[in-house]
Amino acid sequence: MNQKRRLAALTFLLLSGLCGCGSSEVADALDGDHHLEHFVPHHKPACFAEAVEEIEHRSRHLSNHAGHGHDDETEEFRELLDIIGWLPELAADSDLNEAAWNKVNSAATVLAKNLIDCRTPDGTLNLKNLERIIAPDLQTLESFIPAAGKPEPAILHEHDHEHEHEHEHEHEHEHEHEHEHEHEHEHEHEHEHEHEHEHEHEHEHEQVGSGQVRMVTPCSSVQFFITPLTRNAVGVSVSTARNNES
């Protein structure tokens, strides 16, 4: 009988514990704003073509500024590695067939390895020859841009606004873009970009809450002479080397 009572008491305690857990969940649920989000890093390209352009530009930038005591070198190096790491995903999100995708994947693996080899065991970066080292694989990647398909319609990316500001720091992309910010709505902006190709492109930005900016960002591609996307709503332009050349 005692055994049974003990058992009943223990069962009750277990269930009480369970209820306690539930109560804390109630409190948690009621606390604060729990918006469901999937974060897209600020430097993630919107499509394969843009990723290739970014790699080309960023590697050139890093090469040109190597050894100049560039403060952001490590951060930019890490971002370049990230972009190379996203190549398989971005290529899979395109019209490339399996054979082409495999080649892109292999080129991305080699690129990443070459990039990592630029880091000495003590952690310092030797990026002087980076552009030259990655040139063959970059060329391979560029050759797949036409097969990757046309730019897709606008896709919405959610960005952490604070994060955006962190990266507002001089990304000295030696390109000239004229941005005309036209506030049509309290929370909406429309940017017009003028290029030598005289292609106009629109980017819609929407303030959706504290620290959040939603961007309507069409993918770009050199092949189709479409302007690369603007990265944030505060007018910091990240463009590509190819556009500069053009």
């Binding site: 369970l18 209820c19 109630v26 649920a29 729990h34 989000e37 999937h38 899979a92 399996e98 054979a99």
Partner: protein, 515 residues
């Protein structure tokens, strides 16, 4: 408030019962096979040997048998009667629900197959370490003197199987199964709707511990636990918590705890649970960083545990909630679960009939009166009960292996199912019907995983290209789901077209002749 609590309890209880029904049914028959065919002596031999070998055998047999943490209850009740050591039984009870061939294959399609293989290896470590420590702390925990009830041959042997299964289905094992279901029902009644979404993010150091608290009352079939882990990997949530979920969510339930308390008392049960929690949570923290998916951007939430909280978000009258509960159950319970529920009901009715009309045990007496076989010639062979029992268990394992082919159909069939789910999900996405979209997006995502497993099963390989295509469809569906939930119509429209394109590429990757 009360109608919500009652309906929440009822919905979660019924959903779990339906999910568990095939496994509970299997558990009752496996238990009857041990009692009537294999017999207690052979059962002790099967799970016997040295300390480590008995624990390893318990883990291996558990991994092969298609049972869940509720279905394993009748089996461990029988193992206890057979006089198997306590540590070995508890090791079997823990490992049997973790994996089966279906769930293992499913798990291999998660972001990193090595994660699932590591989890399987960790489960072996858990049962071995915990079982060994417990057996040393409490030697001589086995029952002795329970008379053997195996039947040698004939129609009585077949009748005995049915009678044993029927009696257990209406007896002690059923009560324990109901305790397990009450645990998950209580969660559904108490835990607020969607309140677990942010508790297991990758950056939460307490996520494995929180999961340990949640994992004991929850009930998850091996497949459900695996798909929940899939969602956690997809959202890059805490991998340590995912491991704890597998070990405790799939491996434990309230019914098992009540059984432990009844059989081994408070002290020994508390010792088992303490050792188990220390080992599981430690392993959870140990695997958290090494197995974290490197190519996924972490989300700040997971949907994996929405099914353990209140199914309803708004308070309504009892009548409305009851109607919604019925609709929800009709939609969620799969056809094979209905069949299993019907068979389980049939077994329980048979058990009730035996209990009601045979209170003096005349059937048991009749079963026990097996006469010595007459020498009827060379072709009339009496198959020993152990052989038959072994064949039954082996057949079950083979059947679950063959079942994989039915559960994971070929790509062409999967795309027929996907096209239904896609049109429902996308049209609901366009119209902004959040409930409908959510349901069909889940179905759609589930089929993309089945597609991967089916192709792997039939061709022996799944290319990275195919993996990426399937993963992108799931990711785009996930974004669509969020847009619909947030009522963002324009954004949803964009994701609908994105999903459509990803779907076309998925189909090309799996059905076209590859160039």
């Amino acid at each position: 408030m009360l109608p919500m609590v009652l309906c929440g309890f009822a919905v979660r209880f019924a959903q779990s019962l339906a999910q568990a029904a095939p496994f509970i049914l299997t558990g009752f028959f496996v238990a009857a096979v041990f009692r009537r065919f294999i017999g207690y002596e052979k059962t002790r031999q099967l799970f016997g040997g040295s300390e480590i070998s008995s624990l390893f055998k318990a883990w291996l047999i558990g991994m092969l048998l298609p049972v869940c943490s509720l279905g394993v209850i009748p089996v461990i009740v029988e193992l206890r009667r057979a006089g198997v050591k306590g540590g070995t039984i508890l090791a079997f009870a823990m490992s049997a629900p973790l994996f089966n061939p279906l769930s293992l294959l499913y798990g291999l399609t998660l972001s990193e197959p090595v994660a699932i293989l590591s989890f399987a290896a960790c489960s072996l470590v858990i049962v071995t370490v915990v079982g060994m420590i417990w057996d040393r702390l409490f030697p001589g925990s086995e029952l002795t003197g329970v008379p053997d009830e195996s039947v040698r041959y004939g129609i009585r042997r077949m009748a005995a199987l049915g009678v044993s299964a029927g009696r257990e289905a209406t007896g002690h094992s059923l009560a324990l199964v109901l305790c397990g279901l009450v645990g998950v029902g209580l969660l559904g009644a108490i835990v607020p709707h969607a309140s677990l979404q942010h508790q297991f993010n990758h950056d939460q150091p307490l996520a494995p511990l929180k999961m340990a608290a949640l994992g004991i009352p929850v009930y998850a079939t091996p497949m459900l636990a695996m798909s929940q882990m899939g969602m956690m990997f997809q959202h890059a949530n805490s991998i340590g918590a995912a491991f704890v979920l597998l070990a405790l969510g799939a491996g434990m339930n309230m019914g098992l705890i009540v059984w432990m308390l009844q059989e081994y008392g408070v002290k020994r049960s508390a010792s088992w649970m303490s050792i188990l929690l220390v080992v599981v949570v430690s392993l959870g923290y140990a695997v958290d960083r090494p197995l974290f998916p490197k190519d996924i951007e972490p989300a700040n939430h997971t949907h994996a545990f929405d099914i353990y909280g209140q199914p309803f978000s708004d308070q309504k009258s009892f009548g409305v909630l009851a109607g919604q509960s019925v609709e929800k159950l009709k939609r969620d319970i799969q056809p094979y679960e209905w069949y299993s529920l019907e068979l389980l009901t049939l077994l329980m009715v048979a058990g009730c009939v035996v209990r009601l009309f045979d209170r003096r045990g005349r059937i048991e007496v009749w079963i026990a009166q097996v006469t010595e076989p007459a020498d009827a010639g060379r072709m009339d062979i009496i198959v020993p009960p152990t052989v038959l029992g072994g064949l039954a268990l082996a057949g079950l394992v083979v059947f679950s292996g063959v079942g994989c082919y039915a559960y994971y159909p070929p790509a062409s069939e999967v795309f027929e199912e996907i096209s239904i789910a896609k049109s429902e999900a996308l049209s609901a996405g366009l119209s902004g019907d959040a409930n409908h979209a959510e349901y069909w997006i889940d179905v759609y995502q589930e089929w993309t995983r089945k597609l991967e497993v089916g192709v792997f099963l039939r061709t022996g390989q799944l290319t990275d290209y195919q993996r990426w295509k399937a993963r992108l469809v799931r990711e785009h569906l996930e974004m669509l789901k969020h847009c619909v939930e947030d009522g963002e119509r324009e954004e949803a429209r964009v994701w609908v077209s994105k999903v459509q394109r990803s779907h076309n590429r998925l189909r090309d990757a799996f059905l076209s002749v590859r160039l």
